[in-house]
């Protein structure tokens, strides 16, 4: 069997950053395995601009952003295989992939970084009432058809879900000649950026209906003919008499992303409420030497932060391979009041210079403290004027603050400022 020091599964933004950082930290024997025909991941289809503000202080399109990392991968001589689908991984870190040229290959790795991204929830996930017919597709699939292959998924479109992908696709399909009738959102607020509502919907007079969802799809002849939207009450039940009918040929779904973890699941890595794996401060999962980062760990909305996380995981993997991982404690990090999850879930090195914690709040809130507590004792406290669920929060504890932790558990919570 072939040996590799580090195998990276997925050559998107997270995987490329992990590879580059591991190489810079002295790991030479690296292989990136990517199932697609090119590196770059989801950004290949995100042709709009808005990427790279933190990383490069410039606004780039997705393909421009990813190219900067492809260039580094190539300049550093990092080995990669495209059209290489990873089929299997074992707890002992044997990675099996298939590729038209190489056939089915198994490799023994010293460490593995998972950077497999996420997938979109489809029609099955929300059980849309009505006919089963063609013309119901996810927004990301429509984006790929259009931006990569040049096919418009439909001419008269209703979009369900007002996250950023739905908003971006509303504009994109309008620009390519489709009529986008409306965007419907079941929640009373949009999860997309204000800026995307302004430049993708308002600019093109596309209505956004809040607290409304699809109550019926009509498509008797094999393709969507009509979509009926109804208002929902605060228990998300349809309110009779509020129906709005739209004659259309396509229903685009932008109803959420889920980390892609089937291989991690198979080797029984412990999972968290993000639906990604639990990780420690080295981005290592519960399986020693197996790391995770990017959208397969938790869904990100800004690629710059994905790149950053990829680097941290790459650094962690390099330390593991070189035997430099310092583990001197096990402190669990728990989400407290108002917080849906915190990454990392455990701290293993109390002597680190600093550790960055990433989390999301459950609902929009203003004028609060974020506290880190150890058995009721405050370790650190940060003031925040506004926090919203669609923005990931990042807060750093320094060495002195980490040293204050005495028990085996800390809690991150939101507290009102009086």
């Amino acid at each position: 069997m072939l040996n590799k020091d580090l195998v990276i599964i997925g050559g998107g933004s997270a995987g490329m950053a992990a590879a580059i950082e591991a190489k810079k930290n002295g790991v030479d024997d690296i292989l990136i395995l990517e199932k697609d025909s090119v590196l770059g991941g989801i950004l290949n289809q995100c042709i709009h601009n808005g990427f790279g503000l933190t990383e490069f202080k410039e606004e780039l399109t997705g393909p421009e952003y990813l190219q900067r990392f492809v260039k580094q991968v190539e300049e550093l001589g990092i080995e990669y295989r495209c059209d290489a689908l990873v089929l299997d991984v074992t707890k002992d870190k044997v990675v099996t992939y298939s590729n038209a040229e190489d056939g089915v290959v198994s490799l023994q790795a010293k460490a593995i970084v998972f950077a497999t991204g996420c997938y979109e929830r489809g029609a099955g996930a929300i059980q849309i009432p009505g006919d089963r017919c063609a013309g119901i597709i996810t927004a990301g699939t429509a984006q790929k058809y259009l931006n990569i292959h040049g096919f418009l998924a439909g001419k008269r479109i209703v979009i369900l879900g007002s996250g950023d992908i739905g908003l971006i696709m509303a504009r994109r399909m309008t620009l390519e000649g489709a009529k986008v009738l409306c965007v419907s959102e079941i929640m009373p607020y949009s999860n997309g950026l204000n800026r995307n509502i302004a430049q993708c919907l308002t600019d093109y007079d596309i209505p956004l209906y809040l607290s409304r969802s699809v109550s019926k799809v009509v498509g008797k002849h094999g393709r969507v003919e009509k979509v009926i939207l109804s208002a929902v009450d605060d228990k998300m039940k349809f309110i009779p008499g509020t129906e709005m009918e739209f004659e259309c040929d396509t229903l685009l779904l932008s109803i959420g992303l889920i980390p892609y973890v089937s291989l991690l699941d198979k080797i029984k890595a412990e999972m968290s409420s993000t639906r990604g794996a639990k990780v420690n401060d080295y981005f290592e999962t519960s399986i020693p030497g197996v790391f995770a980062c990017g959208n397969c760990l938790h869904v990100h909305d800004v690629v710059d932060f994905v790149t950053d996380e990829g680097r941290d995981a790459g650094k962690g993997a390099a330390k593991y391979i070189k035997g430099l991982v310092e583990k001197n404690t096990t402190i669990l990090v728990k989400p407290g009041d108002g917080i849906s999850y915190v990454i990392p879930q455990t701290i293993t090195n109390k002597n680190a210079d600093s550790i960055t914690f990433k989390f999301r709040v459950r609902r929009p809130i203003q004028n609060v403290f974020v506290t880190f507590e150890d058995n009721g004792n405050e370790i650190a406290k940060f003031v925040r004027p506004v926090l919203i669920p669609s923005e990931m929060v990042m807060l750093k504890l320094n060495q002195a603050q980490l040293a204050k932790i005495e028990s085996g558990e800390i809690t991150v919570s939101i507290k009102e400022r009086k």
């Binding site: 290949n44 042709i47 503000l53 421009e64 292959h149 040049g150 302004a198 430049q199």
Partner: protein, 114 residues
Amino acid sequence: MSKDLTCIVCPRGCRLHIDDDLNVTGNSCPRGAQYAKDELTNPKRMITSIVRVKNRENCMASVKTSVSIPKGKIFDILKEIEKVSVNAPTHIGDVVIKDVLGTGSDIIITKEIK
């Protein structure tokens, strides 16, 4: 004509208000004030689209305007972009239309295709 609008210059998306004398409030930085003034006098946008790659099967190369263009010209410019096709390899920054419709903006490739 005073107006409420959302700043689109950066992802923060501040809610701006601009009055008849072009006084701007709600912006967190000077770029927001400039945006609101431009939006009332001469609104501009970056546009991104795709062009066909002739020598590759079902393959499109992405393009963008090199600078922002007047909002009213978006659909005219898209018609110009639609007329264009290219051959691979394509390189980021390749100009496919020079000074499109006299706007001072070029249409440039944003994707490397081997």
